[in-house]
C-alpha cells in the first residue's frame, strides 16, 4: 500500500514537474526596432516574428516538405491558364474583435494592400501581377491575375499577406499598426515602439493549420523586447532578461552551446546567400578572367571559420541551400581556394606587377577595386578578410562603408566594383530581382537575354519540376559567368533558454510558431 502510494507520488511529481505545463510567459528578443510594423505596409523581417502569431494566412507552407497546406482557406483551385485562384474559406473563423472572417474580408485585405494610398513596401510586390479579387459567395473568393504568377501561394503563406480585421483597419486608419487585429493564436495587446510588444493567448482559437501541433496557444503571454546591439544579446539571455533571442553573434553562440541552461537553435534561412556582386560593366571586372581569378583567390572557408566560427555553411552559388530550387551542382565551381590559379588567371589577363609595389598593373593602371559595403550583416568583417586575401594576390581593395540608400544610389550609377548583399525569401523567383537585366538589385549589371527568359518563365509556370530545372540553369549561368562571389548561407542562431520547449520556425526560417511553445517548470 505504502509502496503504491510512493509510486503514485513519484508519478504525480513527474507529471507536474517534468512535463510541459500550459500557461506562463516568455520574453522574446528581437534584434532590430522596425520603423513600422504593419505587415501590409512595412517590409521588415523582424515584424513577422511577433505578428505571425497574431494573424492567419490563407495557406501555410510545411517547412519539411515545402508543400502548401490549408490555413484560412480549406481548399483552393488554380485555373488552367494559371491566372485565376479560387479559395474555399473555412467557416466559423472570427477576428479577435468579433468580426467574422469571410470572402469579403479577403477582398478587403488584398484591395488594401494594392491600394496606392497605402504605399506598401513589400506586400504589394508579393502579389505580382494581381488584378482584382472577386467575392463569389460568403465563403468563396477568387483572386484574378493579369498573367500567371507561380510564387503566389508562397506569398499568400506569409504574414505580409495576412488577413486583418476590416473593422479594426477602418476604425484605426493610419494608427492601425498600434492596434492590430487578426485571427491568430495570440492577441495583439500593446506595442510601444522601440520598447516592447505584448501578445496574449487567444482562448477561442480553433482553426489552426495542420502544421500547428496544438489547438490553442500554450503560453499565456509573450513579450517582445528589442536588443539591437549584438553584444548585449547573449548577456540578456544569460541574465534571464530574455528567454529566446535571435541572431546571437557566432562567438557567443559557441559559448552558449556548451552551457547546461541554454541551447542554440540554428535555422538555415532560405533566400539569396551573402555574396559580392561584381560589376561586369566596369573595368577591370568586365574581364571574366579577372572575375574568375577573384573567385579562386577568395578563401571562403577561412572567412566562415574566422568571422562565423563555422556556424554557417560556405555558399556555393546565389541561392542558399535551404531554398527550393537550389542546385547543388554549383558547388563544383571555383573550388577549392586556389591562389596560384588566381594569379595565373590575372597574369593571363595581362595584370602583372611591373613596378614592384605589390599591386598588379596593366597599361599603367594599378589593379584597385572600389568595394562599397554596408555596416551590418558582418559585411565589414568579411570585407577586411577579403581585402587582405586579395592583397596577397596583388589586388588592392578600397573599401568604404555606406548606408543602404547610398548603396542603392551607387549601384544604380554603377560606381562600384564590388558590393555585398543578402536577402531572405523562400521562393527562387527572388533570383529575378538580382540577375534579370531589369531586376532592381541587378548589381552585377548583367544583361543575358537567355537568363532573362529563364527567369521570366520560372515566375510563370507552376510545375515545380520545370521551375527547379529553370532555376538550376540560372544558378549555373550565374557561376559560369562569374557574376558573384558567394560567401555564406544565412543561418539564424537563436539562443534559447532550456525552459522553453517546442520552438519551431516556419518555412521562411525567421518566423516562430509560438502556439506550440511550452515552458518546462
Amino acid at each position: 500500500m505504502r509502496r503504491r502510494l510512493l509510486v503514485l507520488l513519484v508519478a504525480a511529481a513527474l507529471a507536474t514537474g517534468c512535463t510541459p505545463q500550459p500557461g506562463g510567459r516568455i520574453v522574446y528578443g528581437l534584434t532590430l526596432a522596425p520603423s513600422g510594423i504593419d505587415p501590409h505596409i512595412n517590409a521588415s523581417s523582424e515584424l513577422g516574428i511577433p505578428l505571425t502569431s497574431v494573424y492567419d494566412t490563407l495557406v501555410y507552407q510545411d517547412p519539411k516538405t515545402g508543400e502548401f497546406v490549408p490555413g484560412l482557406a480549406q481548399q483552393w483551385e488554380v485555373s488552367e491558364d494559371g491566372k485565376v485562384y479560387t479559395f474555399y474559406l473555412r467557416r466559423g473563423v472570427k477576428f479577435h474583435d468579433g468580426t467574422p472572417f469571410n470572402a469579403e474580408a479577403v477582398r478587403f485585405n488584398l484591395e488594401r494592400i494594392v491600394s496606392p494610398d497605402l504605399a506598401s513596401q513589400r506586400a504589394r510586390f508579393m502579389l505580382g501581377p494581381y488584378e482584382r479579387t472577386e467575392v463569389v459567395d460568403e465563403y468563396t473568393v477568387r483572386i484574378i491575375l493579369r498573367e500567371p504568377f507561380a510564387p503566389l501561394l508562397d506569398s499568400l503563406s506569409q504574414v505580409y499577406l495576412a488577413m486583418a480585421s476590416p473593422t479594426a483597419v477602418q476604425q484605426w486608419g493610419s494608427e492601425y499598426q498600434l492596434h492590430q487585429v487578426g485571427t491568430g493564436p495570440f492577441i495583439f495587446v500593446e506595442y510601444v515602439p522601440g520598447d516592447h510588444l505584448l501578445l496574449r493567448r487567444n482562448p477561442n482559437y480553433a482553426w489552426g493549420p495542420p502544421v500547428y501541433q496544438h489547438r490553442t496557444a500554450q503560453l499565456e503571454e509573450v513579450e517582445f523586447r528589442f536588443f539591437t546591439d549584438p553584444a548585449t544579446r547573449s548577456p540578456a539571455l544569460e541574465s534571464g532578461a530574455a528567454d529566446v533571442m535571435g541572431e546571437i553573434p557566432p562567438q557567443d553562440a559557441a559559448r552558449l552551446q556548451g552551457s547546461a541552461d541554454f541551447r542554440i537553435e540554428a535555422v538555415a534561412i532560405p533566400g539569396v546567400s551573402l555574396m559580392l556582386f561584381m560589376n561586369t560593366t566596369r573595368s577591370p571586372l568586365d574581364d571574366i578572367n579577372v572575375r574568375q581569378a577573384l573567385l579562386f583567390g577568395t578563401d571562403r572557408k577561412a572567412i566562415i571559420s574566422a568571422v562565423f566560427r563555422d556556424t554557417s555553411p560556405v555558399a556555393c552559388g546565389p541561392l542558399a541551400a535551404a531554398t527550393f530550387g537550389y542546385n547543388p551542382m554549383v558547388c563544383q565551381f571555383y573550388q577549392p581556394y586556389n591562389p596560384d590559379q588566381a594569379a595565373a588567371l590575372l597574369e593571363e589577363a595581362g595584370w602583372k606587377d611591373t613596378d614592384g609595389d605589390g599591386v598588379r598593373d596593366k597599361d599603367g593602371q594599378p589593379l584597385v577595386l572600389d568595394f562599397y559595403l554596408m555596416g551590418w550583416g558582418y559585411m565589414p568583417e568579411v570585407g577586411q578578410l577579403i581585402a587582405d586575401q586579395w592583397a596577397r594576390l596583388g589586388v588592392r581593395v578600397q573599401s568604404q562603408v555606406v548606408s543602404y540608400p547610398e548603396a542603392l544610389e551607387i549601384a544604380k550609377e554603377g560606381r562600384h566594383h564590388l558590393m555585398p548583399f543578402n536577402l531572405s525569401g523562400s521562393d527562387p523567383d527572388i533570383l529575378r530581382r538580382f540577375f534579370h537585366s531589369q531586376g532592381g538589385f541587378n548589381w552585377s549589371k548583367v544583361n543575358d537575354p537567355e537568363m532573362d527568359r529563364w527567369l521570366e518563365e520560372g515566375a510563370r509556370v507552376s510545375d515545380r519540376n520545370r521551375r527547379a530545372d529553370l532555376y538550376a540553369k540560372v544558378q549555373d549561368r550565374v557561376m559560369e559567368s562569374a557574376l558573384i562571389i558567394p560567401i555564406r548561407d544565412y543561418v539564424n542562431l537563436n539562443g534559447v533558454s532550456n525552459r522553453v520547449q517546442g520552438l519551431r520556425f516556419d518555412a521562411r526560417g525567421w518566423f516562430p510558431w509560438l502556439i506550440d511553445v511550452t515552458l518546462r517548470r
Binding site: R255, E381, Q398, S399
Partner: protein
Amino acid sequence: MRGNIQAVKQDLGCPKQNVLARALCGVAIPPLQAVSPRRPLRRQPLVLCSLLWLIAAVLGAMLAPYLTPVDPLTTDPSRALLPPGSGGLLGTDFLGRDVLARLLWGGRWTLGMGVGALTLAVVIGLPLGLAAGSAGGWLDGFLMRLVDAWLAFPGLLLAMAGVAVLGPGLSSVTVAVGLAAAAPYARVVRAAARAIRAQPYIEAARAIGASPWRIALRHILPNTAPALLAFAATQLGWVLLNGAALHFLGLGVPPGVPEWGAMLAEGRAYLRDAPWAAVFPGAALTLTILAANLLGDRLGQH
C-alpha cells in the same frame, strides 16, 4: 555695466578655480602678470607621467615600422583571438592580427586626427576670437552670438552632423571634429584678448597711434599665447575623445584600419572571450585623453 554682468555670471555658477573654464563661461581671464610660483615638474608625478605617456604614444606611432616587424593588416585566422603571451605581447584580434602592431600603427590615425583637428580649431577659432576680443563693439557682439549658436549644440552632435554632410572618412572626421572645437576656442581667445585690451599698456599703444591691427597682432596676441596653449592642450583630449567616438560608430576610417576607436568597436564583440582586443585600445585612448587633460589643466593653472 559689463562688470556687473560678469559679476552676475560668476555668481550664476561659473567655476571658481579654473580660469579657462571660467573664460568659457564668459568671464574675462585676469591678466597674466601674477603667475603662480612654479613647482618643478619632478614634484608633480601626474603631470610628468602624462607628458611621458604622450611622448611615448607619439614616438610609438612614428616609429611603428621599426618597433614591430608585424604588419597591422595581415590576417591569419588560425591565430585568431590568442591571448597576450602566446599571440604576441598584447594578443591577437578576431582575424589573427597582432594587437600591439595595430595599436602602434593606429596611433598614426588617432593622434594624427587629433593634431589635425586641433590645428583646424586653432586656425578658425583664433582669428575669430582675436577679432572679437580686440575690436569689441558690434563685431564682438556679432561674432559671439554666432559662437553662442555654435556652442548651443553639443560638440559630438555637431561633429556627427559634419560627418553626415561630408561623408564618412578620416578627413571628414578631422574636419568635423575640428570645426566643432573651434567655437569654444574662439570664446577663450576672445576672453583673454578682452582682458589684455583693458590693460594700460594697450591704451598707451593706442595713444601713440598704433593701428588696431598692430595692437591685436603685436600686443594682444603674444600676451594671450600662454592661455591659448593651455586651452589647446585641454581641447586635445576633447578632440581625441570625439574623433574616436566617430570612428567607434563606424563613421570614420574604412573597415580594418587600426584606428583606436575602430579597434575598440571591433573588439567589443569579443569582450567576453578575448577582452584584450578591446581593452588595450580602450586603455590607450583613456590614458592619452587623461594625459592631455592633466597637462592642459596644469598649464591652465598658470
